[in-house]
């Protein structure tokens, strides 16, 4: 049992002077004043700032390793086929990826690792804490499986260049419809051979899995809506680059939206509508926005630049912080465990030398499950 005293703690959407107790990897209580006792070790934070461990709901860390060159550490896309639902990101995660290290050293304690977007159906993602050497011990179990899908130009460029389907966006949705139909057939059969691909697609149909869909254009988002309604599957829109061009429509969809990476320059048609305005517009339309880095597109230790650039819109800073903490935690279905400092939740937090909006602050300590795992000191 540890008592952390005299910090400025971010809890209940506010930065307040507070003390908190951590025991068995969980927050036990957070109060303005907790009297130290002999039963627990006391750590004096000396006025430092304490934030909940940040959550990035869309990364490729561990499977797209930094410092390994172009190919050796790149296991993001199983491009032996445009449809690979049975692939599992967990089978390719290297916990020693320097990208994971810089994530925890900068206060990111939980990330969702997804297969890439070269395939229409990429495979199964997984949520991990950003510390450990054995990935199975880092996994944070989710109620629903996570299945990565992709619309738009990534699958079209990857496969069209090889003159294989999908060569146009027409075939992206057709392929998805065909595969989901095959899964329906698979489910209806009484006698069948176990098939990894069909099992994962069936999970989607049974709503035991949620689709995380990479999409940029508004018309592709409409196509996703049509296909999802046709097969009655649950989905999240990832990137959703042009969604802000019709905020009423965005609201009507009533699905979680994860924006980003935004601090990148628009180098192709896929980024035609790319703008930080999307955060402001969709937030003001009433959506709960999460923001991703798509690491290593933006390395996680530089995610804070996105926080600062969003701050240029002078929105409520509590709302901005939510986009990197409780909102992504909720999208992952893990809001009971992570995403904020509250009694009963995992003791995932970081100690910063100053306010997170102050560029001179450093992440001095990062804690996962109550244990110090990183930080600059």
């Amino acid at each position: 049992m540890k008592l952390f005293k005299n910090g400025y703690v971010w809890y209940n959407s506010n930065l307040k002077k507070a003390d908190f107790i951590v025991e068995d990897g969980k927050f036990v209580k957070i109060e303005e004043e907790i009297v130290p006792s002999d039963l627990c070790e006391t750590v004096d934070l000396n006025g430092k700032y304490v934030y909940p461990g940040m959550v990035d709901p869309h990364t490729h860390v561990g499977i797209f390793e930094e410092c390994t060159g172009w190919t050796a550490g790149n296991d993001v896309n199983e491009t032996s086929s445009p449809s690979t639902p049975g692939m599992r990101a967990i089978d390719a995660i290297n916990p020693m990826d320097p990208g994971i290290e810089s994530a925890r050293n900068s206060g990111f304690t939980t990330v969702c690792v997804l297969p890439g977007s070269a395939n229409v159906i990429g495979g199964e993602g997984v949520v991990i804490k950003t510390y450990g050497t054995v990935v199975d011990e880092m996994v944070v179990p989710t109620n629903k499986k996570i299945i990565k899908l992709a619309f738009g130009w990534n699958p079209v460029w990857t496969w069209g260049k090889q003159e294989k389907a999908p060569q146009t966006r027409l075939a992206v949705s057709a392929l998805l419809r065909e595969k989901l139909t095959s899964a329906r057939n698979y489910m209806a059969k009484e006698e069948k051979e176990y098939d990894y691909d069909m099992e994962n697609l069936s999970s989607l149909l049974k709503k035991e899995a949620v689709a995380r869909i990479h999409v940029a254009n508004l018309e592709d988002i409409e196509t996703i809506e049509r296909v999802a309604n046709e097969f009655n599957i649950d989905y999240v829109l990832d990137h959703a680059t042009a969604l802000h061009t019709n905020p009423d429509y965005a609201k009507s969809l009533n699905v979680p939206v994860i924006l980003g990476p935004l601090n990148v320059a628009g180098k192709s048609f896929q980024t035609y509508d790319l703008t930080f305005d999307s955060v402001k517009i969709l937030h003001e339309a009433g959506l709960k926005i999460s923001v991703m880095t798509d690491a290593p597109v933006i390395p996680l230790n530089l995610a804070k630049i996105q926080i600062w650039l969003i701050d240029r819109f002078r929105m409520n800073r509590a709302d901005v912080l939510d986009m990197f903490t409780i909102n992504p935690a909720t999208v992952l279905g893990l809001e009971d465990r992570i995403g904020s400092i509250a009694a009963g939740k995992d003791a995932d937090f970081f100690v910063s030398s100053g306010d997170i909006f102050d560029y001179r602050s450093k992440v001095e300590h990062t804690f996962i499950n109550g244990i110090r795992v990183g930080g600059e000191l």
Binding site: E66, L262, N263, V264, A265, Y272, L302, W308
Partner: protein, 385 residues
């Protein structure tokens, strides 16, 4: 035409900051002190704001790397049909209405330099432009030939081992460069010859009229091009210089400028494995204080240029040098410090006004002023992020 900026915190960079005013007439700074009175001037009230010289980007691909468009049609960065293309000029690849120009305005970047890419050991000539949207394209040019872009390391051999099959290793890159310069010397020595514009350009480099700007990440690539430089005797600036912090003491003794960055990319290729946020601070400690920071837009967005300065400060760089590295230092690097890079009487009226300190990344650029004209007004145009 007079513009009087009043009541702000003025940060000239080459002299101490003060609370006061800046007066610009016909595109030049004519007043820089407290309580300037000028009846005929258009007044810009900068109360509570911070005033800086326009920021300068030494290394970008704004306009030649098409943005928000079809890459096949609009990406004109690399003429990879041959490894040595000194005759290619960034001027002919720039699309003047490209989004990058607007993003630069919002970032407060008033002058930027555009290079060809790094696929070729000798890629082509760079060009420096003023970011003044009221001018026709040709009138924006401040430096028609800003340098000869060259490249070492992984990119040339990756591209040319398949595209032209002329270079497979770093040894090949070095020899291609040596041969090109030797061909130029042979050309000069010929008595009878037809004019060869490619050779003329290489001779300009050898004669010191045109500086070579060499893309090099790894320490060994830096050392190789320094070796070649000293063999032939030309002027050089190192672009990226990612591992410069590993050989800082050696570089401090050389008369070679460094353009450091982009600092925010992932370490996605081996030659940037040692990319560090501490590089600027380490260079400063070693006595190298004339380096500039670069974004290589669109590798990272141009509005990240002052943010690189902020992150460098967070990793040990002095605030003073951080500001210089995005203003006067790139100006000196380009040989334009008589005109831009600081707020001084007689220099161009290029100013950026922020609602917070420039080094605070949550600042908003409220006004960007080029040649004494307000070319970006945040209240009217909104953030271009």
């Amino acid at each position: 035409m007079k513009l009087l900026i009043k009541n702000g915190t003025v940060n000239p960079v080459t002299s101490p900051s003060f609370m006061g005013d800046v007066l610009i007439e016909d595109g030049k700074i004519i007043g820089l002190e407290q309580n300037i009175i000028c009846e005929e001037a258009q007044v810009l009230d900068a109360a509570g704001m911070n005033i800086y010289p326009g920021i300068i980007e030494e290394h970008s691909h704004i306009g030649i790397h098409g943005e928000k468009t079809n890459q096949e049609s609009d990406n004109d960065v690399n003429e990879w049909s041959a490894p040595v293309t000194p005759e290619c000029h960034a001027l002919e690849g720039i699309k003047p209405f490209d989004h990058g120009f607007l993003q630069a305005l919002n970032a407060g970047v008033t002058t930027f330099n555009v290079y060809p890419g790094s696929a070729n050991p000798i890629g082509g000539i760079g060009i420096t432009l003023k970011n003044d949207p009221t001018l026709h394209f040709e009138d924006k040019i401040v430096l028609r030939n800003s340098g000869l872009k060259m490249a070492m390391g992984e990119n040339p051999k990756k591209v040319h081992s398949s595209a032209t099959k002329t270079i497979m290793t770093r040894m090949g890159t070095a020899q291609v460069i040596r041969k090109a310069f030797q061909d130029a010397i042979n050309y000069r020595n010929k008595k009878e010859k037809e004019k060869d514009s490619r050779m003329e350009i290489l001779l300009k480099v050898l004669d010191g009229e045109l500086t070579a700007h060499v893309h090099a990440h790894k320490a060994d690539d830096i050392l190789t091009i320094i070796r070649i430089k000293e063999e032939f005797g030309f002027k050089m600036c190192l672009e990226h210089a990612t591992e410069s912090h590993l050989i800082a003491d050696f570089l401090a003794k050389k008369d070679i400028k460094l353009a450091v960055g982009p600092m925010f990319t992932a370490r996605y290729k081996i030659e940037v494995n040692n990319r560090s946020l501490c590089t600027p601070a380490i260079l400063e400690k070693a006595g190298i204080t004339d380096f500039c920071l670069i974004t290589d837009h669109p590798v990272i967005p141009i509005n990240n240029l002052p943010i690189e300065a902020s992150i460098a400060v967070n990793n040990g760089l002095s605030e003073d040098l951080a500001l210089r590295s995005i203003t006067i230092n790139p100006a000196i690097n380009l040989g334009l410090d008589d005109r831009i890079g600081s707020l001084e009487i007689g220099k161009d009226g290029d100013v950026v006004i922020c609602d917070r300190e420039l080094l605070d990344p949550t600042h908003r650029v409220m006004y960007t002023i080029v040649n004494g004209k307000i070319v970006y007004d945040m209240e009217k145009e909104g953030l271009i992020l």
